[in-house]
């Protein structure tokens, strides 16, 4: 499959669509639980602003101010930060962080469609079935990793949404998503020259921190029950 440059900012449009779909999911869940708050619009505004700006800022930080791009981890930090501020500091609904985290695989999977069409975050050189070529970027047959990421993260979203009432769903969503990202990263073009990428290092850090936080909170809950 050959994908030529499209004279239309399809990447930006798909990123915006993915964020809007994420917001619609969160809004639907909050309305369903009857947790509607009049400041919800402010939350969605902060969600958009912090995801976009921190997504761009993360790329600038890694490239020391030389490259502008949109990092998924920066966007993730922005989204969770906005949910944290509204839930913990402004005493918003106590399920906001949970719904934001469950929506993240959905947002990421739709954003990856934009990457596939725009020709970024491409896969390793590959000449078999479903291989794709971007003549404007790199005239080599590549693995369509973006499509696999879209499908994987959409499946993760479906699983986590079905189990959203599980008390550990936040940890499950984070672990599933970061493990998937770590493994799929081996099929990205960066691995032609590197053994391990920055994205994978961040994934490992997040996995370890999530497990530590989960064990720590489980221990506190266990010792509280024992005290009673």
């Amino acid at each position: 499959m050959i994908i030529s440059k499209i004279d239309f900012p399809i990447y930006g449009i798909l990123i915006l669509i993915s964020i809007i779909i994420g917001i619609l999911y969160i809004y639907k869940m909050i309305k369903k639980d009857d947790l509607y708050n009049k400041n919800l619009l402010l939350f969605f505004l902060l969600y958009i602003v912090s995801s976009l700006i921190l997504g761009i800022q993360f790329t600038l930080l890694v490239s020391k101010g030389e490259t502008i791009g949109l990092s998924s981890y920066g966007g993730l930090i922005g989204a969770i930060l906005s949910a944290f501020i509204f839930e913990k500091i402004l005493s918003f609904d106590n399920k906001l962080i949970k719904y934001v985290i469950i929506s993240l695989p959905l947002v990421y999977s739709i954003g990856k469609i934009g990457c596939f069409i725009a020709g970024c975050c491409y896969g390793i050189p590959y000449d078999g079935l479903l291989s794709v070529k971007y003549p404007d970027r790199l005239n080599v047959s590549l693995f369509p990793i973006q499509i696999f990421e879209t499908i994987t993260f959409f499946i993760i979203f479906i699983i986590c949404n079905k189990n959203k009432n599980n008390k550990n769903i936040i940890y499950i969503t984070i672990l599933l998503s970061t493990i998937a990202k770590f493994l799929l990263d081996f099929l990205r073009y960066d691995h032609v020259t590197k053994i391990i990428t920055l994205n994978q290092i961040i994934s490992i850090i997040i996995i370890v921190c999530t497990i530590i936080i989960y064990l720590f909170r489980k221990r506190i809950r266990f010792s509280n029950k024992g005290g009673i």
């Binding site: 930006g12 912090s50 800022q57 930080l61 020391k64 490259t67 998924s72 990457c115």
Partner: protein
């Protein structure tokens, strides 16, 4: 609002709770009548304290959003601070975010503050204008986008 007896969620104009039957409206009216005079002065003091806190948050927000940019522009004139533009490019986006968060906290926690409300509207308008300018720039200068 919620029933003081059983905690059931009830409409504002309801007189009796649909769950336990407790008379709700009269209780709340009596509460207002008994405590009104005593509460008035306390309300004024709380309100002044709230406005003061909101103003402090808004001023810190303005410093984060604009002050950092002004200070770094001034410092970049001197040889000892040559690298300040690189540092600003790497972490500069965090300051407007912090400013935006502070003004949101001020307007939600202290809804009586006009300063917070006006500043929030100003930030939103500026953000929309910046976003439109950014989109126009990206569309006319494609080389700015180098991957994700």
């Amino acid at each position: 609002m919620y029933c003081k007896n059983c905690g059931n969620k009830i409409e504002d104009k309801t007189i009796f709770c649909g769950n336990c039957g407790t008379k709700v409206k009269e209780e709340q009216e009596n509460t207002v009548y008994i405590t009104n005079n005593g509460v008035n002065n306390t309300n004024n003091v709380n309100s002044n304290g709230d406005i003061k806190n909101a103003n402090i948050l808004c001023i810190i927000s303005l410093i984060c959003t604009y002050g950092i940019g002004i200070i770094s522009s001034f410092l970049s004139q001197f040889d000892s601070f040559k690298n300040i533009n690189t540092i600003l490019a790497s972490i500069g986006g965090l300051f407007p975010i912090a400013g935006f968060v502070l003004v949101i906290v001020a307007s939600v926690k202290y809804p009586n503050s006009k300063f917070a409300k006006v500043l929030l509207i100003v930030y939103i308008v500026l953000f929309v204008i910046s976003l439109l300018l950014f989109i126009v720039t990206i569309m006319s200068c494609e080389y700015l986008l180098r991957g994700c």
